[in-house]
Symmetry: C2
Subunit: 206 residues, 2 copies
């Protein structure tokens, strides 16, 4: 009967992840309550802590699912054979679209903080690689002067720049650009960064 | 005795703001508790709600103080007479330094969210203007083709790009650049954006 017990446990975990995802979709991460998750999953409160250690670990599983979907969206946006500028524009647009279409799940990726002293498990940390994976090749084409480590760092910076514009806009912060301008402003930023990167690697001008 | 009553009320407000600021400095915004603020300010719990409506409004007063200090730091970083690239680098560096030196108070500016349905008061909203005020002139020198509204929008985008790199790095997010690389990466981003902006306004190349 070992298999059945394992299957039941996997099924419970799946139901808890789906319930937590549904709750975040409905109320945002700040509104997530363990009791409401277990009620929706149809299990006792204690079952959550048995299956996932605590609510934070359950959120990490939801976030890993979101990262996988975001990674697939970014991968699908690649324009193989296109020039770097076209590739980077397509990736940035896919990021904006994903954030707008999945705002609460996307926000949870960046709002969630583990308690002080708790280290992020490697399996979840590694799932973040999708955020920059697709940027590296087109950025490398613009900046052949950068070694792999510097290129990776610059890809992180490029991601963070676009992310900052999206986040301040979608949060409705005073300083954020109005949401109806977001697509155009991100496109303008990426165009500026692309042209600037070309001249960074060739100070004489492109 | 009206003056004395007004003075007492102003003194209480000041003590509450200072206590809340000290608590955020010590524990971060997420650790802020009304009871600990009033204990430190030496007043009853109810006095907070009498003076500030609620804890959220008290946080806005702390955030307005932080914005005023940040605005002063950015203003002091201006390099009048320098070229736009030098000005923008100095502003970005001042922003990075302020965020690093005042991490919890700075984070509170972007972490704090009013409850659903509560509108940010105008006095606090207007205090955010310092975040982009100093960017407009040097950016306008790079982009004389933009009208005032488009220039303001592009200043917001430029701020958000730098802010995104700082925020993901200081939060220690996987995708953020390591903090020891932050100054250099922000400088590289600003250099790239500056060069790209020059060629945006002059497609033939600078």
């Amino acid at each position: 009967m070992a298999t059945t017990r394992e299957e039941k446990r996997a099924d419970l975990k799946r139901r808890l992840i789906e319930a937590a995802e549904a709750q975040i979709l409905e109320k945002g991460l700040a509104g997530l309550k363990a009791r409401e998750v277990t009620a929706q999953a149809g299990c006792a409160l204690g079952a959550l802590y048995n299956a996932f250690e605590d609510l934070d670990m359950l959120v990490l599983h939801v976030n890993s699912r979101t990262l996988a979907r975001l990674g697939a969206a970014l991968h699908a946006a690649r324009r193989d054979g296109a020039d770097a500028a076209t590739e980077l524009q397509a990736l940035a647009r896919a990021y904006v679209d994903f954030a707008c279409d999945n705002q609460r799940l996307w926000s949870a990726l960046f709002e969630h903080r583990l308690p002080d002293g708790v280290t992020m498990p490697d399996w979840h940390r590694d799932d973040h690689a999708v955020l920059i994976a697709e940027i590296i090749a087109p950025l490398g084409a613009l900046r052949p002067d950068l070694d792999p480590e510097a290129l990776r760092l610059r890809a992180q910076t490029t991601f963070a720049a676009v992310h900052g514009v999206v986040q301040l806009s979608l949060q409705g912060r005073f300083v954020g650009v109005p949401q109806e301008c977001l697509v155009d402003e991100v496109a303008a930023l990426v165009a500026t960064m692309t042209r600037g990167s070309r001249s960074d690697s060739d100070p004489a001008g492109a």
